[in-house]
């Protein structure tokens, strides 16, 4: 049974599917444009300090914790 959890809670090295983005309009659009759509697969490379390193569509991003908590993913 897959769980839905914020991206910050995903363990390193795990892949999840974006379920929703709980952000304001501008920010949500920005994230979608960078590839964080509903259904996109996100791999967490690093999640231990202020920011996360994640990979979406083969592109690597550094992502602030605040932003990452707004991205809900399901572990699969």
């Amino acid at each position: 049974m897959p769980h839905v959890l914020p991206l910050t809670m995903m363990p390193e090295g795990k892949e999840g599917k974006v379920v929703s983005i709980n952000a304001g309009q501008g920010l949500k659009r920005r994230l979608v444009e960078m590839g964080f759509c509903e259904g996109s697969l996100v791999t967490v490379h690093r999640s231990e300090r202020g920011a996360l390193v994640v990979v979406v569509n083969g592109i690597k991003y550094a992502l602030g914790k605040g932003l990452a908590t707004k991205i809900m993913v399901s572990d699969c």
Partner: protein
């Protein structure tokens, strides 16, 4: 036959090789950074292809055209309002999905688009198969394969561009947003179409789509039009948040339906970049690695620069000798020897240092490491009310604050950008280094390196504390969300990095040839004109740079201001002229103490009683913190658009400098250190 003239615009995501392609087409040299959004200036170039003269405009790298950041507004306004004949979109073949998102937006704008499929060799080498024929069919856009860094495919691209212009007729390809959204689009089209001023200037469908997209820039345009109330009443019936994201997702959906048919992708494996990132983004290793990199950069700079500096020193010594021998007119001889050669020479001697430091920064930028440094520093930046995005502009300040302040344009949050601009001058630029090297070398001997390092650290601490202070009082707010692309590592080529070094370094050279030259001639003039009531000839030996010259009068007027810091009138004058450029502090001291460009002689005079280690330290700290040079003040005004903030920065810095130097002098005197 008269040549045909066309204009093309280069658009594309950050890090797709846009600037490299621009250079390959026009032959122009410019900076190629490795982090998102380095191209913020509008750059143009010319190229003649067969019988067509092509004007090429390099647009800022953007992920979309939604006017989210300054870069996007610049890019979009150009495409919408200037209407280039063709927009060439550079598409990274290794990242089709995200790149094609921008393509859909360009198509919606009604632009004629030609795709340059860049880095396709990389995509193929990792096993992707891209069918460009099918890509052209689905997108109804010409696609040309290019490898920008080897200048491959440029002619084919230009051929296609010229053919596209000649084609005349233009097919509009639209994204279909699904029934619900389409209904609203049609409704809005009907309303917006009634305003002839709007519909004459912009595509009506695009305006309607952007309105539903919640595009503030377009909303503003509508506000001032005849249809404002009608548009607003339609928009008030929808739930904006839902629409925006839904529309972005529809665009991706459009892409994702065609993507599997044009590109067969291999499974991503762990890459070399990932392995490096494991180390440099590690919780415990990240910051030590960053500090080690910085230390190495400075160490290489100073070690390699020392013999080169001696060479420059020899050259100016030789030049001064030639001038002294061959020019008999005493006034001209003094102008050249005491003024120009002394002033410019004392600045030029640090050119190797500054060039090497720029080379190190360029290597780090071009390799892709800088974006990782931003990630490592995000936590610290968060604590002072900024985010990792502000880090790179601050780091660039070590080279020169002017390009560093311009680099803040990539910061989306206006308040964060303002704070990053205001504290940037505290990051000690290359121009202040000559002052430290001279003073620390003269007064601290073997500990000079440590003292200089301490000054740099002090600058960083002041910048951090000031940011926290400003963020907590006059520019309140929470740090904005941080997201930054970490581009794959690339092995920087010495040639490319040398070009970037030269671009930054030549600014310094130009400054030495213009502002600094003018500055030192001005200083010499003031020191050569006799003071009122003094009976001496212009530029005569006995008044040059003494209290009997005009500069002496000026110095004595401002001396009381800096006397509490232990500075005499000559230092006061040098600091005033340091506003022209901070290097001039040393150059004008050379003139005032009559030692010319001979640094050793100046050091001798200073240590022989003109200054103490305590006042020297105070002067270094004062030079670090007080009002930045005129070029920097100019760029702060330009970037903040506000005299209020520019004045704030000038007064704040100078007040801090005064207090710091005062404390150093008073406390040092009280405990009897360094007198």
């Amino acid at each position: 036959m008269e040549k045909k003239k066309i204009t093309i615009a280069l658009a594309g995501n950050p890090n797709v090789g846009k600037t490299t392609l621009f250079n390959a087409i026009t032959g122009a040299r410019q900076h190629v950074g490795n982090w998102p959004g380095v191209t913020v200036e509008k750059k143009t170039g010319k190229r003649t292809y067969k019988d067509t003269e092509i004007e090429v405009v390099d647009l800022p790298g953007t992920y979309s055209l939604t006017a989210y950041s300054l870069d996007e507004v610049v890019a979009r306004d150009y495409v919408v309002e200037e209407i280039p004949d063709v927009v060439v979109q550079i598409v990274d073949a290794t990242n089709l999905e995200r790149n094609l998102y921008l393509t859909t937006q360009l198509m919606e704008l009604g632009s004629k688009v030609v795709i340059a499929l860049n880095m396709w060799d990389l995509a193929e080498s990792r096993g992707d198969k891209i069918d460009t024929r099918k890509m052209e069919d689905f997108l109804e856009i010409p696609v040309v394969k290019t490898v920008a860094n080897r200048a491959e495919g440029i002619d084919a691209l230009l051929e296609e561009v010229v053919r596209e212009v000649d084609k005349g007729e233009h097919h509009e390809h639209e994204v279909s947003y699904g029934d619900d959204i389409e209904k609203k689009i049609i409704e809005l089209e009907g309303i917006v179409g009634k305003d002839s001023a709007l519909s004459g200037k912009y595509p009506v469908r695009w305006l309607s789509v952007k309105l539903l997209d919640g595009d503030e820039n377009i909303l503003e345009k509508i506000e001032g039009s005849s249809v404002a109330t009608q548009v607003n009443s339609v928009l008030s019936t929808i739930k904006k948040d839902d629409y925006e994201a839904a529309m972005a997702e529809k665009r991706y959906e459009t892409i994702n339906t065609v993507l599997p048919q044009i590109c067969v992708k291999c499974v991503n494996e762990v890459t070399f970049s990932d392995m490096i990132d494991r180390a440099v983004t590690n919780k415990y290793l990240g910051i030590p690695i960053f500090l080690a990199m910085m230390w190495a950069a400075f160490e290489v700079t100073f070690t390699v620069a020392t013999p080169l500096m001696e060479f420059v020193d020899m050259f100016f010594g030789w030049l001064a000798g030639v001038v002294a021998q061959s020019i008999t007119n005493p006034v001209l001889g003094s102008l050249l020897g005491d003024g120009i050669i002394a002033g410019v020479g004392s600045v030029m001697i640090f050119l190797p240092n500054i060039l090497l430091l720029f080379l190190m920064i360029s290597l780090l930028e071009d390799s892709g490491y800088m974006a990782r440094a931003a990630f490592v520093m995000d936590k610290l930046m968060y604590k002072i009310g900024l985010n990792g995005g502000s880090f790179i502009p601050l780091l660039m300040g070590f080279g020169c604050n002017v390009p560093a302040i311009m680099a803040t344009r990539t910061i989306e949050d206006e308040k964060e950008r303002l704070v990053t601009i205001l504290v940037n001058p505290f990051i000690s630029c290359g121009a202040r280094l000559p002052v430290y090297l001279m003073l620390a070398g003269a007064f601290f001997g073997r500990n000079a390196g440590t003292v200089i390092f301490g000054i740099y650290i002090l600058g960083i601490i002041v910048a951090i504390l000031s940011a926290k202070l400003i963020r907590g009082t006059v520019v309140k707010g929470k740090p904005s969300p941080f997201i930054m692309e970490l581009p794959p590592y690339r092995l920087p080529t010495l040639k490319a990095s040398a070009i970037h070094m030269w671009e930054k370094g030549s600014i310094y050279l130009k400054k030495a040839g213009t502002i600094i030259l003018a500055g030192v001639v001005f200083v010499w003039l003031l020191s050569a004109i006799p003071a009122p009531g003094v009976d001496a000839a212009f530029a005569s030996e006995e008044i040059l740079g003494t209290e009997d010259s005009l500069i002496g009068v000026l110095g004595h007027i401002i001396e009381p201001l800096v006397a509490p810091l232990g500075f005499d009138w000559k230092v006061a004058v040098a600091l005033v002229f340091g506003f022209i450029a901070k290097e001039i502090v040393i150059g004008s001291m050379g003139v005032l103490y009559g030692t010319g460009e001979d640094e050793d002689a100046l050091a001798e005079i200073l240590t022989a009683g003109a200054m103490t280690p305590l006042t020297a330290l105070g002067l270094m700290v004062f030079t670090l913190l007080y009002v930045p040079c005129i070029a920097c003040v100019g760029v702060v005004k330009k970037e903040t658009g506000s005299w209020k903030w520019t004045l704030f920065m000038m007064v704040y810095g100078t007040a801090l400098a005064w207090i710091a130097a005062f404390l150093i002098y008073r406390i040092g005197t009280a405990i009897g250190w360094g007198l």
